[in-house]
Symmetry: C2
Subunit: 239 residues, 2 copies
């Protein structure tokens, strides 16, 4: 009972939200928070890598990877490769982003892993890695049997969306946690930076919603199936 809309059209909304969210997090971390650096005496510059890498690297690239099957007018094997590579880049940038948070904490003598945001973050990146590895083995190389692939695909899609929704939710947790710290430090609760952070979180949630809507919507037209190796059409049409 998937909703019937033109998935390709929905992906344009998702792309637009992604660009807006990326600009907002860069404006926040550079114009308001002083910029980005891996090595710095001002440890906040190290922290600033975290929201930028998690949002642009993990959430946005991960979302684009999920909708790649429906956003790209290409042959399925090509889309499959893009799906796999984009997720790999998202995973790598996500890990890098988490390392930046640990580096900031350690060099600022802030305790680690006490908040709900950090617990869910470790859970999400682990599940994302697990999802990437078994999917590579089953759907890419060495590749499982056709039965295994078709039986596993709904679970691949369901777990993928579950982990992605968790990631988007956790981004919202991260924005709220950071803003709560800043406001406890005196930042104006109704000031421009507070509004920028809240709206960045809302745009991120909307981006995530359109990614999930795209994945759940009827695909306009399944890609033409190709050589026998990929005779079964794995372009998921709807969850």
């Amino acid at each position: 009972m998937a909703v019937r809309i033109n998935a390709m059209a929905v992906t344009f909304v998702a792309h637009a939200l992604a660009v807006i969210a990326a600009i907002m997090v860069l404006v926040w971390s550079i114009s308001y928070r002083g910029g980005l650096a891996w090595e710095a005496t001002n440890k906040n510059l190290i922290f600033n890598l975290h929201p930028v890498l998690m949002l642009i690297g993990f959430i946005i690239l991960g979302g684009e990877a999920i909708i790649s099957y429906k956003s790209l007018p290409l042959e399925k094997p090509v889309k499959k490769l893009i799906h796999l590579i984009l997720h790999a880049i998202a995973l790598a940038l996500g890990i890098f982003g988490i390392c930046a948070a640990f580096k900031n904490h350690n060099e600022s003598h802030i305790p680690n892993l006490y908040s709900l945001h950090s617990w869910i973050g470790i859970g999400v990146i682990s599940l994302y890695g697990f999802q990437w590895v078994y999917s590579f083995i089953v759907f890419f190389f060495p590749g499982g049997s056709t039965n295994l692939k078709s039986g596993l695909l709904p679970w691949h899609a369901m777990l993928g969306l579950f982990v992605y929704i968790l990631a988007v939710g956790n981004a919202a947790l991260g924005f709220l946690e950071k803003l709560t710290f800043l406001e406890n430090g005196g930042l104006d609760k109704y000031g421009s930076e507070a509004f920028l952070i809240n709206f960045t979180a809302i745009i991120t949630i909307l981006f995530g919603a359109f990614v999930v809507l795209t994945a759940s919507a009827e695909s306009p037209s399944p890609s033409p199936s190709v050589s026998n190796d990929d005779s079964v059409d794995f372009s998921y049409s709807a969850i």
Copy 2:
């Protein structure tokens, strides 16, 4: 491409998680935070109504309403009535819970509606109300045409799950925000209360995940269609 599992079995996991989450939020608000009260000189007792009503009233009852079609071995018209009534109770308790938060803020001279949690909360309760009203009109009384019902059902289910996922995510935001305030006030970041709050949030997220999984899973056996008024089988099998 819905996952094929026995939805009824999944609902038992959801029910168990609901009971655990309810116990945890009551232990937190009563044993740790001093109890619940609508009128009190200790304004924290008024605040404590908020997490209890939102989790037990809104999230849990709302989740049970969503899975009622698959968790109850009853005729469809009866399940439809339970679905509608449970959602109405969840909406009412949610509004009551939000009023408790405003009452606490006003009587404690805390500013309102500056946090991401409050913005999303107002959005969620508004969308939930909108969803309930149009659904009552179309699916219950006076009732839309069969075409309208069948055309609208996928959107009803999709919007319903979107609002519900937002509600669960917002509950996690609320737990994290409150814990961040408490820790800024000196609460031990690795103490039992901090762990209780974090795990209550995680159990709530798991409950939400099993509600969505139930709604997305194949229903074991569609209820027998009944009199001509309800000849079309609206027991959603899968999203």
